[in-house]
């Protein structure tokens, strides 16, 4: 992320130096006075908890006692925790399917909408609407739509000849696909908007030049759109990855991790251990895993992106 960094001031002449250092002082004071109202809240509620997390993960704290340092005991326990592995696996499953699906859907929609068609504005509204719909309400509807006996989705599937339509949220094999489907439905409009903004920064001349050179639609997409969109795609991928790793409320209201742990994910496991079983220390250890996972993947993506651009 290249934040615009001001060019360093030219080396001041000696007499000016005093004045300059006073100006720096004043600027610092004024600058901090602007930051402070936000920074206090940010430091107390975000920065401090992140730091405390790394301490808590090495303690056996529950709500009542005091935090006792237990070294890496929590992590040793994690290694043998079958539920933890299930949660990790499910999180990776969700991530691995959700990212390409949402990326593809969002990019496809953005490409469609970036053309001169009537009703584009209307569709943009429609596609974005699920994103601003509350997850609780959305989950209620989808649960009914997914209902295996009477739900309209399976009714339609039976109509087109699927004899044994999937049980969706009540089946251990189909619950995760159901969750992914709803996740994609909800988020694709958001990423579509970001892609759309990216597409509109591509100069039209590039396409004209490609046409003059005789490139067909696919070649123009491959050689003009994809490379020009790279920064946007990168941003979307990073956001999607973090979003997928931390998926939580969607699962909580749609399946509550079930049936039979088939949709249990890391965030939910943290919630369960921490807030339902009061094992704050152990839950913090799981949190550290989630944190490190997100961190590593983001770093790797940054490195890959940098290499590609080089």
């Amino acid at each position: 992320m290249a934040t615009t960094i001001e060019a360093p001031a030219r080396r001041p002449d000696r007499p000016a130096r005093r004045r300059r250092s006073r100006r720096v002082w004043r600027n610092t004071a004024v600058g901090w006075s602007f930051l402070l109202p936000n920074f206090i809240g940010f430091a107390v509620l975000t920065l401090a908890p992140v730091l405390v997390l790394f301490y808590l993960a090495f303690t056996d704290w529950n709500v009542f006692g005091v935090a006792r340092w237990t070294g890496i005991a929590n992590f040793k326990r994690l290694i043998h925790d079958q539920s933890f592995y299930t949660a990790l696996e499910n999180t990776l499953y969700y991530t691995a399917v959700h990212i390409p699906l949402t990326l593809g859907a969002a990019l496809g929609l953005a490409l469609l909408l970036n053309r001169k068609l009537r009703g584009v504005a209307f569709f943009r509204t429609v596609a974005f609407f699920p994103y601003i719909t509350s997850i609780v309400a959305a989950a209620q509807v989808w649960n009914m739509l997914f209902s295996p006996q009477y739900g309209p989705i399976d009714a339609v599937l039976r109509l087109v000849g699927v004899a044994q339509p999937p049980g969706w949220t009540v089946s251990t094999t189909w619950s995760m696909p159901a969750v992914i489907l709803v996740g994609t439905w909800r988020e694709m409009g958001y990423y579509m908007l970001i892609f759309l903004a990216g597409l509109q920064t591509i100069p039209a001349q590039l396409y004209e030049a490609a046409r003059v050179d005789g490139a067909n639609a696919w070649q123009r997409f491959r050689n003009v759109t994809v490379p020009s969109l790279r920064p946007t795609t990168f941003f979307v991928t990073v956001m999607l990855t973090i979003g997928s790793f931390k998926v939580f409320d969607l699962i909580l209201v749609l399946t509550n991790g079930g049936p039979d742990q088939s949709t249990l994910v890391l965030s939910q496991y943290i919630y369960k251990k921490g807030f339902q079983e009061n094992q704050f220390g152990y839950a913090s250890a799981v949190s550290v895993v989630l944190f490190v996972l997100c961190f590593l993947v983001t770093i790797v993506q940054f490195l890959v992106n940098k290499r590609r651009n080089a």
Binding site: A2, L45, L53, F245, L252
Partner: protein
């Protein structure tokens, strides 16, 4: 990211306008296919909302039928009266409104104020600090919700509405969004004001705030909707029934009356409706806010 795309300057035409393509139009077959795809996608996206609205006007027994009834037999408006008696809908709405308004006002103030410091005042350590801000956007809240909860309990904020206010009002996203916008405002403006002897606070209030109205609108809408829709925060922090927000209330309602499908859908419609209205009115600002955060990651 290394692109330095700036959000649209104040008087530029809005982002995301369909770009006029020079020259040829695509052929009719491709156009027809495009419309077909759009229509199919729109139908798929809207289906859940249609089902929600229609079911909220049915009787419970009518919601699930074989074959599926896509229209109610008899329209039951009564659900929309019943839900007010059967649930604490008015308490939930009141709490949610209080939270959404307070959080939005606070976020607008702290976000724009801090963004001014980050973009217009130069001092050592500023850019490093901003990187820390950005960095935390990538840290999932779920990974530090436990220490945060413990902290809030120590501050005696948990199980009060203040906890949600504290949780939402200092987000880094607001700072980021406003900073992006301020940087598109030419430096000469504030420089001229400085020469005229205006203080930094004066520049912020008299020049930056008025000029950044569109960005403020984007931030306000995004924050309001986020707070309205927040489920996890209230789930963890608000234990008393009298503090429930609409999302939390709706989910407890569902677990209590899990067979009253029509009423559940009525509640869902009521929880979505205000946001839908806000979204339709302020759509342009939503779109621009999101495009801004996306363009320069």
């Amino acid at each position: 990211m290394d692109t330095t795309l700036r959000p649209a300057p104040v008087d530029a035409k809005p982002l995301l306008e369909p770009r006029p393509r020079t020259g040829r139009r695509s052929n009719p077959v491709a156009r027809a296919l495009g419309y077909l795809l759009l229509a199919a996608a729109a139908a798929g996206v809207l289906l859940p909302f249609y089902w929600m609205a229609v079911s909220s006007l049915k009787t419970d027994n009518d919601v699930f039928t074989v074959p599926v009834h896509w229209l109610p037999h008899t329209v039951v408006w009564h659900n929309y009266l019943d839900i007010w008696h059967r649930s604490q809908m008015s308490t939930w709405l009141k709490n949610t409104l209080i939270l959404s308004f307070t959080v939005t006002v606070l976020q607008l103030f702290t976000g724009s104020f801090a963004a001014y410091g980050f973009s217009k005042v130069r001092f050592p350590g500023r850019d490093a600090l901003f990187l820390v801000y950005i960095g935390t956007i990538a840290v999932p809240w779920q990974s530090y919700m436990i220490p945060q909860f413990i902290l809030m309990s120590h501050l005696h904020l948990s199980n009060t509405l203040w906890s949600i206010i504290a949780l939402q009002a200092f987000g880094a996203l607001g700072v980021f969004l406003m900073k992006q916008y301020y940087e598109s405002i030419p430096e000469e403006l504030s420089e001229a004001a400085r020469i005229d002897g205006m203080s930094e606070y004066g520049i912020y209030r008299r020049i930056m705030l008025p000029l950044s109205a569109p960005a403020l609108a984007s931030l306000a809408l995004l924050t309001f909707v986020n707070t309205w829709n927040d489920y996890l925060g209230p789930l963890i922090y608000l234990r008393s029934p009298s503090l429930r927000t609409i999302q939390l209330g709706l989910s407890t309602f569902v677990s209590q009356y899990n067979a009253e499908y029509a009423l559940i859908m009525t509640g869902s419609v009521l929880s979505v409706l205000p946001i839908a209205v806000i979204f339709l009115l302020g759509q342009r600002y939503f779109v621009e806010g999101i495009a801004t955060t996306g363009l320069k990651g």
